[in-house]
């Protein structure tokens, strides 16, 4: 019932978008006779056609971008969870580290890339590291929020039944924080994809971001530009739904923090 409503509103938005896009494309090419119309706003059919012509390249390059993003996401999540648990273990450490953690997020990825490259001396590792870095923060912060939101009465309950410290983590704190972790991942996953695309453009010679930049500057196959843009956007959306899907499998319905 709720999902069907969501689907309806989603399709309405999609149809509206397509209509407006097509109208704009029509105005540009057929009414204004703009010679660059094909580049600015090509008709959707043209995009579809060029996607079909280039789909192998685009999907291959997307897969490369995606695998860097995914590796980064995994590493960033692992580090984020470990940091959150460490900070939870020591309040003094939390007070000392948290401000720097916040400050670290002020460094833009563009500035970060040369530092990372200097650090790793390896472009692949650098790309993974950039993705890990951007996902690390939302995951870690949300996880910490979850760990700190455990009600005192549940803590007392575990202690009174003789739970050891690691048992309190294993059976109370971590399961309690999982929904928080997932809301962090819902932010992180699309961010990891964006970071990966950006990392493609910086220095690499492959990845969907590279295809976009390459074709944008007029090199390569011009027809690849718009399909690549659309596929990258879809990757971001897809990653969000993938996290939702995994959450639905892993967590019993009762404890999911429902959006809206």
């Amino acid at each position: 019932m709720k999902t069907s409503k969501k689907l309806i509103s989603l399709s309405v938005w999609l149809i509206l978008f397509v209509l407006i896009w097509e109208a704009a494309a029509m105005v540009l090419s057929d009414i204004l006779h703009d010679p660059l119309a094909e580049k600015k706003v090509p008709k959707l059919l043209t995009i579809a056609k060029s996607f079909l012509e280039n789909y192998q390249v685009i999907l291959n390059q997307s897969f490369i971008t995606l695998s860097y993003a995914f590796s980064g996401l995994l590493i960033g999540t692992a580090l984020g969870v470990i940091l959150a648990i460490t900070l939870r273990l020591s309040k003094t450490l939390e007070k000392a580290v948290l401000p720097y953690l916040l400050a670290s997020q002020m460094v833009p990825i563009l500035g970060l890339a040369p530092i990372m490259f200097g650090l790793f001396k390896n472009i692949s590792a650098c790309r993974v590291a950039i993705c890990a870095y951007t996902t690390f923060f939302p995951v870690s912060l949300n996880m910490l929020l979850g760990l700190n939101s455990v009600p005192e009465n549940l803590n007392s309950m575990m202690r009174v039944f003789g739970a050891k410290k690691f048992q309190i983590y294993k059976k109370l704190l971590i399961p309690f924080s999982l929904p928080y972790l997932f809301s962090g991942l819902k932010i992180s996953a699309p961010v990891a994809i964006s970071a990966s695309i950006l990392a493609d453009t910086l220095s690499a010679k492959d990845g969907i971001g590279y295809v976009i930049i390459y074709t944008l500057y007029g090199a390569g196959t011009a027809g690849q530009f718009w399909p690549a843009i659309i596929v990258s956007a879809l990757l971001g959306v897809l990653s969000f739904f993938a996290v939702n899907f995994i959450e639905a499998i892993l967590l019993p319905k009762k404890i999911r923090v429902d959006e809206q």
Binding site: N153, L154, S156, M157, M158, R159, V160, F161, G162, A163, K164, Q167, K171, L172, P175, F176, L251, P252, K254, I255
Partner: protein, 260 residues
């Protein structure tokens, strides 16, 4: 019926002061002394806010006393807690939302590393005692307040603790369920010779169940009187019963008039 094995809980001049954010102290327990024999069924009776939960938490080693001495079977409350001496029924049920009823009841056994088959067997037995066998696969959010409370009671019983601490376990229950659980708890007590400390603000309940009633009053933060109740079980609402109830009422009223 009573074991003569000395004190189970020995409380010596305990004081508890809570400090607020401004450092202003508030005396919740003022020089409270109380000896509880092994096998006693003691009620802590008093109006809301008089410090019943606080005293119970100090006994359980969940809260530190400000001054005074306390020992449980010769140990500190902390040590007693780690040795699984306590079963605790919380004022709010304190169930884990992501676990089913059965898994919640199994938790204390899980913490003690009892094998899975065995713990399910014991948990089922206690669930049938509180009449919730049909709900073992449900999640707490699917239960009524009284049902959750009964899950909490079953959970407190699974480890066969020597001391059962109960914080207003029946206050959320209807009269019918209450009557039945009164009988069950008395049966368990008489059969196993557990020591029970039972918090309530219901005079009838205290007189019906316990062999000692500690009357606590709001303004003094002290135990006003420990009334022995030697009416034989099962207790009916006879003359002795009603006399006892009015005797205890008079203690409250005495304090009430003294403080005017």
């Amino acid at each position: 019926m009573k074991k003569l094995s000395g004190y189970a809980i020995k409380i010596d001049n305990i004081t508890k002061v809570f400090y607020d954010a401004k450092g202003k102290g508030r005396v919740v327990l003022d020089n409270v002394s109380l000896n509880i024999n092994a096998g006693d069924f003691v009620s802590l009776l008093g109006p809301s806010g008089c410090g019943k939960t606080t005293l119970l938490r100090i006994i359980a080693g969940l809260e530190e006393k400000t001054s005074g001495g306390i020992s449980v079977f010769g140990m500190s409350p902390r040590d007693a807690r780690v040795k699984n001496t306590y079963g605790f029924v919380f004022q709010d049920p304190s169930l884990l939302e992501w676990r089913t009823v059965l898994e919640n009841v199994c938790l204390p056994l899980e913490l003690k590393k009892v094998p899975k088959k065995k713990r399910i067997e014991i948990a089922r037995e206690k669930l049938s005692l509180v009449d919730l066998s049909a709900y073992e696969k449900n999640y707490p959010s699917e239960l009524s307040g009284g049902m959750k409370q009964r899950v909490g009671i079953a959970r407190a019983l699974v480890t066969e603790p020597e001391i059962l601490l109960m914080d207003e376990p029946f206050s959320a229950l209807d009269e019918f369920t209450k009557e039945r659980l009164y009988n069950d708890i008395l049966r368990i007590w008489q059969k196993t010779n557990k020591t029970i400390v039972f918090v309530t603000h219901n005079i009838n309940e205290a007189v019906k169940l316990s062999n000692k009633v500690c009357v606590m009053t709001t303004n003094s933060a002290k135990i006003a009187k420990v009334a022995e109740i030697d009416i034989p079980y099962p207790r009916k609402r006879n003359v002795d019963f009603i006399n006892k109830v009015s005797e205890i009422k008079e203690i409250f009223e005495g304090y009430f008039y003294e403080n005017i």
